[in-house]
Each structure stands twice: as C-alpha cells, then as structure tokens.
C-alpha cells in the first residue's frame, strides 16, 4: 500500500503537533471529512497514540455538549432490548467439520493393527530378529499407542458436559477465520481448536487473550509458537482467569504486552 507509507512519512515529517493544530481531528469527529480523509485520519490515530488521545478528548467534549441539549427523561435501554431480543440470535456457527481427531482414533487403531500383523509376519520370517530392530518396532508401537490415548483424551474433553465451549468468530483482520475454545473450569485449562486459522506469516505468532469486559482487561494466555508443526492444531493452555471472552491476535514473534486489535483474527464471548 504505497499511499499509506507515503502518508505516514508525511505525518512524521509535518509533525504530530501541526497535524493536531490543523483542525482535521475536530472535523473527523464531526463527520465532515471525505471518505478518503477519514481513512487517513483513522490510520494516523492508530499509529500515534497522541492523536488518538486528542480525538478521544474532542469526542468527549462533543458528547457532553450534545447530551446537555437533551430535554427528555432519562432513556432506558429496556424498550430497545425488548425489540432487538425478539429477533433470532445469530450465532456464527461453523459447519461441523470432520476434524483430524474425529478419525485419528481409527487411523491409529489401523496402524497399530498393521504394525502387529507386521511384527507377527516378521516373527514368522525369522525368529532370530536383531535386538535393535525389535526395539525400533516397540518404539513405533508405543508412539501409536500414545497417539491413540491422546486422541481418546481429547474426545473425552470435548464430550464432557462441564466444559464450556466458546466459538470464536473471524474478525476484520481475517473474516473467514474461526476457532473454538473448550474451557474446563475445574482443571483451569482451555483447549483451543485452531484449525480454522491460516498459517501465520514468518516472524508472526498467534497470541491468545483472556478478556474481562468491565473494565476491559486483556490477559495474555501465551503464544502458539509451534503452530505450523502441530498436526491437529489443538492446544492446551492454562487459564485461571475469570474470562468473559477470548480473542486471538497476530503479533510479532515472542508476543506482545497488549493485543493489537487491528490484527484481531477471532473473538468470542463466553455465554453465561
């Protein structure tokens, strides 16, 4: 985006104070700028906290002034709530996808069976099997057994009625993304099924956030560092927060202190 880069350098050059003094931010809040100017101001205030603070202060002054010209009684939300609660709630649900782990139990059993048949066959072929080879096979069997018990454990988790499931819908940064959090409050673990997220670009990681809404406090639950390597894209993460929502943002490798909402990939509220 050439023009964005050109524009940003322009701001740095012309300096933030001059930008504020120009009066453009006041017109931005009034809504009397062109669509293109709106986008430019939006980009600038995302980039420079000083500009954002200025916009918030201007908006606050206008909110106070306009509120003072209201002569009605205090407005209650109830009337609106009644009207908007009648419509069927649209919860963005993804079509249930047959995930890897749906089948992986069968796959594992099949491999295990195959390995056993193979071992048997080998035994018939030669009763003097080299000790090293035998050990290799045993390790293989062990691995398959492990994978099977892991799959079984996951199935158990997903079927537990005490586990809260929270669908996370795709956001502006990636509308087609989705994810699902299974929250086990007893063990204070969340299981994040992140199969619906694209592979992150080089140098970036997904960071998981637990969110409290009032007052808004994002708490990092960590980053998904081994995203590409993880086969089933299910991550077990510690969460002892009293979460009201979960969000996933794309952050620079190593994660960030606070979420970059411009790069919010998925978000979902815990239904109480």
């Amino acid at each position: 985006m050439c023009w964005t880069i050109a524009f940003n350098t322009r701001i740095v050059k012309m300096n933030i104070k001059e930008y504020i003094a120009s009066g453009i931010l006041e017109l931005y809040v009034a809504g009397s700028l062109s669509e293109k100017e709106n986008e430019e101001v939006h980009d600038a205030i995302q980039k420079y906290p000083e500009l954002m603070a200025e916009v918030i202060a201007i908006e606050k002054a206008i909110v106070l002034l306009t509120a003072a010209t209201n002569q009605g009684d205090s407005y209650s939300f109830d009337a609106i709530k009644k009207k908007i609660s009648n419509e069927p709630k649209v919860i963005p649900m993804q079509k249930p996808k047959k995930n890897f782990w749906t089948y992986s139990g069968w796959v594992a059993a099949f491999i295990l069976g195959g390995v056993l048949v193979y071992t048997n066959f080998q035994n018939k072929q030669s009763t003097t099997m080299v000790a090293g080879e035998k050990q290799q096979l045993e390790e293989q069997i062990d691995r398959v057994k492990n994978s099977l018990s892991q799959t079984e454990k996951l199935l158990e988790i997903f079927r537990d009625k005490d586990i809260i499931s929270v669908p996370l819908a795709g956001q502006n940064a990636s509308p087609s993304s989705y994810a699902k959090v299974y929250w086990d409050k007893k063990t204070k673990n969340i299981y994040l099924d992140a199969k619906g997220l694209p592979t992150p670009p080089k140098g970036k990681v997904y960071q998981i956030w637990s969110l409290k809404v009032t007052p808004l406090t994002p708490t990092s639950l960590g980053t998904l560092d081994n995203f590409s390597a993880d086969a089933n894209k299910i991550f077990t993460i510690k969460n002892s927060n009293n979460s009201e929502a979960f969000g996933i943002t794309l952050e620079p490798a190593g994660g960030s202190e606070t979420p970059n909402l411009e790069q919010l990939y998925a978000l979902g509220a815990v239904r109480s």
Binding site: A21, S22, G23, I24, E26, L27, Y28, V29, A30, G31, S32, E35, N38, E39, H42, D43, V55, I56, A57, I58, E59, K60, A61, I62, V63, L64, L65, T66, A67, A68, T69, N70, Q71, G72, D73, S74, Y75, F77, A79, I80, K81, I84, S85, K89, V90, Q171, N172, L211, V213, T214, P215, L216, P218, A245, T258, P259, L261, L264, L267, A269
Partner: protein, 177 residues
C-alpha cells in the same frame, strides 16, 4: 479505549449487553442532537429509539476505518431527525416553536431533569463567541460539510477548519478536557 473497541466488536456480533453499554454512553447525546433539530422532547424520544434500532440492524455496515462509532451514530441521528422535519406533521407543529440554536435549548433547559453537566454547559455557551456557537451548531448538530458551513456563515472555506478548532478548543478548556 480498547474497552470501547471491544464493545463495538461485540455489538457487531449482536451482543445485547455490549450494546446496552454503548447505548448508555451515547443515548443522551444522540437525543440532544435530535432534539436540537426537531425541538420536541416526545418526538425526540421516538426518533432516538428508531436510531438505536437502526444502528443495531445495520451493525455490520459500521467499520472503524470510516470514522468514529459516535460519529456514525450522529449521522444516523441527524438523517432521521431531518427526515422527520420534512414530514407534514412537523411542518404544522413547527409554527409554535421559538428556539433555534442548541444554545437556546441550553438556556431554556429545565434544570429538574437535566444532567449536572447542563448547568455548567450553560455558562460555557455564554462564553463562546457568536461565530463559535453557529459553527458548532452547524458542524456537530446539523452535520454540515465545510462547504455548506462556509456558505451558511459567509466565511471563507479555508478558515472553517481552523476556526472550528479554536471553538472546540474553547469548549474543551472550559470542560477541562
């Protein structure tokens, strides 16, 4: 700040609780703007409700890159109020109205049900110059463009932006913002 962005995201996902918070933050302002245009508290109440229903139904059409959420609401409110002033009923009832500027509404404001801010704001608008009163009225309450405001006030187009900056600056310094 992040708080508000999250509330807006949740509102766009049709979260009623989040919308209630946004409603409480802005309903009086929206009603104030509508009242300045239609000059009738009862009609204002009706239109305010319509505006917030409309915003809910069109939640998906809002995008932060297009402007502030409050500004988006302001636009819906002004349009709804102006539509009303074009209706027959309004033209008939208008004859009895005397108030014109938001300043007049503030001055005749009944203190009984006013917010505590209104009392302080009365002093503010006394202190604002005539040009500032008109400019703020046109740009914020009526949604005039710079060109429209410059024509209405007979002011060179190039000075609207800076003059408005000074006016809002005065308002902010009195409010301590």
């Amino acid at each position: 700040m992040i708080n508000q962005e999250l509330l807006i995201l949740q509102f766009q996902q049709k979260d009623v609780q989040a919308y209630e918070k946004l409603y409480n933050a802005y309903c009086k302002s929206i009603a104030g703007v509508i009242n300045t245009i239609v000059k009738n508290p009862e009609v204002t109440e009706e239109i305010t409700q319509d505006v917030f229903l409309k915003a809910w139904n069109n939640a998906a059409s809002y995008s932060p890159s297009k402007g502030r959420f409050f500004t988006w609401l302001l636009n819906i409110a002004r349009n709804a109020a102006i539509d009303h002033t074009r209706s027959k009923n309004f033209k008939q009832s208008k004859q009895n109205q005397t108030t014109d500027f938001f300043v007049d509404i503030l001055e005749t404001h009944d203190d009984l049900n006013s917010s505590t801010n209104a009392i302080g704001l009365k002093d503010i608008v006394y202190k604002l110059g005539e040009t500032c009163k008109s400019l703020i009225e046109l740009l914020y309450f009526r949604g005039f463009t710079q060109v429209e405001a410059s024509e209405e006030l007979n002011m060179p187009l190039g000075t609207i932006k800076t003059k408005n900056k000074i006016c809002v600056g005065q308002l902010r310094s009195i409010l301590g913002l």
